[in-house]
């Protein structure tokens, strides 16, 4: 898995450039790759337009490359390049995140740069399909925070408490130039039925992620507050946003379980594009040797009051999945999902409709 350039090669490369004397001890290059196909039985697409009633590869196909370098015993630099097609980028590779880390000791480190936001249990490795059971983490929860990464700093503080390990991760930063999928409800009629994205800015983002891990489980909680503006949408004022989430996962005697809950609250004009929502999911699976069959139930609910401007979305889904280990660095996954928009809502689809069935297959590889 680790492809290493020897210290000699790295040093030669660096020395050949302007006589640099920077000594890089070691460089690691790793990567992940997912190829996935989807098809649905409905003429109504998912709201990002990626899953349709034709076989499509847009939703789940992506490739990532991670480069990590130890500058010295205290400082390291890590960057991840991601190419995907979820927002019609045609696999334009871009830096998903990149940071420099300073380790005070085994227990504490400080990171600065573009940092993946730890909103949920698996947010900071959301793109690495190999690392979790589903083909894609439940959208009712994972699509609720359009901010994937912040430019800023965080601290990772670890403490060993008997049989468990505590991680406390406070962070502060900003998010500029991220794109959020606009709700169909705010689009002019000429653009309805398409996936439209808009730039938005999040300033003064402060948050904390706390996780407690034992041999068989992890429980976590997170909270963040920020001020959002979206000049493209006419939201020029900064509107307050709070986001709270809790979650737990277990891997105990071949029983696999995940569950998470979130609540987001967004004030003023920004509520038009990002209404108040809450949601949760629960996953249960059982590992039979190389096979991991699992079932997930997920709910997304409107949390707006009558004075809020936006339209809350509501849907339920049930997913049956199977993960099969292809050796120690690859997995094959199959899923069948029934999505049910609730009430008059379109849920996470383009327009209100009856139930939609989605069938997916994917292969995840790490290297």
């Amino acid at each position: 898995m680790n492809k290493r350039l020897s210290a000699a090669v790295a040093a030669t490369l660096l020395l050949s450039r302007a006589g640099s004397v920077l000594a890089i001890e070691n460089i690691d290059i790793n990567g992940f790759f997912t190829v996935g196909a989807t098809i649905s039985d409905s003429s109504v697409d998912t709201q990002d337009g990626n899953i349709t009633d034709d076989v499509g590869f847009e939703e789940d196909t992506r490739v990532g490359l991670q480069v990590s370098a130890d500058i010295n015993s205290k400082i390291s630099a890590t960057a991840q390049i991601l190419g995907d097609n979820r927002k019609n980028q045609s696999f334009d590779a871009e830096f998903d995140w990149a940071f420099v880390s300073y380790a005070f000791n085994d227990q504490a480190s400080l990171r600065g740069g573009k940092i993946k936001l730890p909103t949920f249990l698996i947010s900071d490795y959301f793109e690495v399909g190999y690392a979790y059971p589903w083909i894609r983490p439940p959208a009712e929860v994972y699509s609720s925070n359009p901010i994937n990464a912040i430019t800023g700093v965080d601290a990772l503080v670890r403490a060993n408490l008997g049989a468990t390990d505590l991680l406390v991760q406070p962070y502060f930063g900003v998010s500029r130039g991220e794109e959020a999928l606009l709700p169909q409800e705010v689009l002019p009629p000429s653009e309805q039925g398409q996936a439209v994205y808009a730039d938005f800015e999040a300033d003064n983002m402060a948050g904390i992620n706390v996780a407690l891990s034992g041999e068989f489980f992890t429980i976590r909680a997170g909270y963040l507050q920020t001020e959002v503006s979206a000049p493209d949408l006419g939201v020029t004022s900064s509107e307050d946003v709070t986001f709270a989430s809790v979650g737990a996962t277990m891997d105990w005697h071949n029983v696999i379980a995940y569950t998470e809950y979130f609540q987001r609250e967004i004030d003023g004009l920004a509520n038009l594009a990002f209404p108040n929502q809450k949601g949760w999911y629960a996953t249960l699976g059982y590992r039979f040797d190389r096979f991991l069959p699992h079932v997930t139930y997920a709910q997304l609910r409107d949390d707006n009051s009558s004075s809020d401007l936006g339209t809350g979305l509501e849907q339920d889904s049930i997913t049956l999945g199977l993960r099969y280990e292809l050796g120690a660095a690859a997995a094959l996954k199959l899923e069948a999902q029934r999505v049910e928009p609730e009430g008059d809502s379109r849920g996470l689809l383009m327009e209100p409709t009856d139930d939609v069935n989605i069938y997916s297959v994917a292969v995840d590889v790490i290297f």
């Binding site: 898995m1 990590s68 690495v128 190999y130 060993n160 120690a328 660095a329």
Partner: protein, 142 residues
């Protein structure tokens, strides 16, 4: 005749299996490093990139055997309590979230010894039968 061949094959296979199941693992450091007693739990934490609180004369860094090698499988099961697939998932979560790198891998006992020797602080594990005088054994795992 045929039956005795089968018996012979079966006995040989059994012998191989019990031999690999009985391989003793030696955990080694460079001879210049002094390490207080290490237990299995501390070793597990060191190899999973968790604060391990091992008292030593220098900072300890683990090195690993090659992925797929019998000794790595044995070490993962005996010390880390994981299969290789579980270990791969564990590291994929830590590594791709930028929160830790897995120990570097070396191909076989001789390479592990070479890496540990002369690099004070590096910790490796090898088949106990391959131990040389260049390193200090800090733990034996039967």
């Amino acid at each position: 005749m045929k039956r005795s061949t089968h018996t012979f094959v079966a006995i040989t296979l059994l012998g191989l299996l019990s031999k690999s199941a009985l391989a003793e693992i030696a955990v080694i450091v460079d001879s210049s490093v002094s390490v207080d007693s290490v237990n299995l739990e501390q070793l597990e934490r060191l190899y999973l990139d968790k604060p391990a609180s091992i008292q030593a004369s220098t900072r300890l860094t683990p090195v690993d055997q090659k992925k797929g090698s019998p000794l790595r499988k044995e070490f993962a099961e005996k010390v880390l309590g994981k299969t290789e697939a579980q270990l791969a998932r564990y590291w994929s979560r830590l590594m791709f979230s930028g929160k830790g790198q897995p120990p570097r891998e070396y191909d076989g006992d001789a390479e592990v010894i070479r890496e540990v020797t002369g690099s004070p602080g590096k910790v490796g594990y090898i088949d106990a039968a391959a131990v040389t005088g260049d390193t200090t054994v800090i733990l034996r795992i039967p």
